[in-house]
């Protein structure tokens, strides 16, 4: 059979979600942000909630998320996305409100906001991209940086006596009574991407059921910050990140 006979509209089994805009993403080649954006867009499309979803973009690489997913967006000050999401959800209780935050945004400068939003049990979804580094500003050490990991601000590797140990923020959030669903996923393979998509869908459904805050951590790679190729970065993530940040549901009520 000729390729031209296969490539016909009636044989199409996968194409870009219409919720995703045509803009070329500014992310580095192989960046996990692009995959997570796509999964969010597909969940919004499948649930038919494009007109009812409001995203809160953070400060970090994903600050431009509003250029890629065709929904309503707001952009918060550094780390303050959960506070803005709280206000948005209270003003528009029928909307689906989610924040999209990196580890520098959520686990460092925004620790107070995320802790209290989750503790209050706001009916929002939090998508947390953990790549263990500040990607946008040039690869500085983040609270989630692994022990011994070399970054621009820890050139000899992270040391416990100077920098302390990596912050497992998702474990902390799982203990808060306001959260209903806390999970840790990844997107480096097909199986993991599909699991992440299911987790994001469940989080959005929880939001409609008013069960409390849903928190989805996605362990991600930052190949530019880690100074590795995209494929090598994913392999490094599986070898080094997953033992420190084990995948799976931490809480599901």
């Amino acid at each position: 059979m000729d390729i031209k006979d296969i490539i016909k509209p009636e044989n199409k089994v996968y194409s870009k979600s219409p919720v995703l805009l045509d803009n070329v993403m500014h992310y580095c080649p192989g960046c996990s942000h692009g995959t997570v954006h796509k999964l969010i867009a597909e969940v919004i499309e499948e649930m038919g909630i494009q007109e009812k979803t409001i995203g809160i973009s953070p400060v970090g690489c994903s600050v431009f998320a509003y250029n890629y997913v065709d929904i309503d967006w707001q952009q918060a000050a550094h780390g303050r996305a959960p506070a803005l999401a709280t206000a948005t959800k209270r003003l528009f209780p029928d909307k689906y409100v989610f924040t999209y935050q990196g580890d520098g945004d959520l686990a460092s400068i925004g620790t107070a906001e995320i802790m209290h939003a989750c503790n209050r049990g706001e009916n929002i979804v939090v998508i947390f991209i953990n790549n263990a580094i500040y990607g946008m500003t040039g690869g500085q050490m983040a609270p989630t940086t692994l022990m011994g990991m070399k970054t621009a601000t820890s050139p000899n590797g992270r040391r416990e006596d100077i920098h302390g140990k990596p912050l497992k923020i998702t474990e902390l959030i799982a203990q808060l009574e306001g959260t209903c669903y806390v999970t840790r996923q990844s997107v480096q393979s097909v199986a993991s991407a599909r699991k992440t998509k299911r987790a994001i869908r469940k989080a959005f459904e929880n939001s409609a059921l008013k069960k409390g805050t849903s928190f989805v951590e996605v362990v991600s790679s930052c190949n530019s910050g880690w100074k590795l190729s995209p494929v090598k970065a994913n392999e490094w993530m599986v070898e080094n990140m997953f033992p420190n940040y084990p995948l799976g549901d931490l809480k599901d009520i």
Binding site: I6, V190, R194, V231
Partner: protein, 73 residues
């Protein structure tokens, strides 16, 4: 009954990250020697006859530049 598939890569959007190449179970995809206008070696079907249209490449593509087609033959 066998499945035959084909992919169409938006070569201008592709950044040549190779994530699809390593996730392809039939070794169909490779990076082209040619580059797009940004200088990236884009992905293409190096072995078109082995494609089954499983959509794995498109699922992991960070830039959503792959469209997948599949037929039963």
């Amino acid at each position: 009954m066998a499945l035959r598939g084909a992919i169409v890569v938006d070569t201008e959007k592709c950044k040549g990250c190779s994530v699809c190449v390593v996730n392809c179970p039939t070794n169909t995809i490779a990076l082209a020697k040619e580059v797009n206008s940004k200088g990236y070696n884009y992905a293409y079907m190096a072995n078109p006859e082995s494609c089954t249209g499983c959509t794995n490449c498109a699922t992991v593509c960070p830039d959503t530049c792959i469209t997948v087609y599949r037929v039963k033959v």
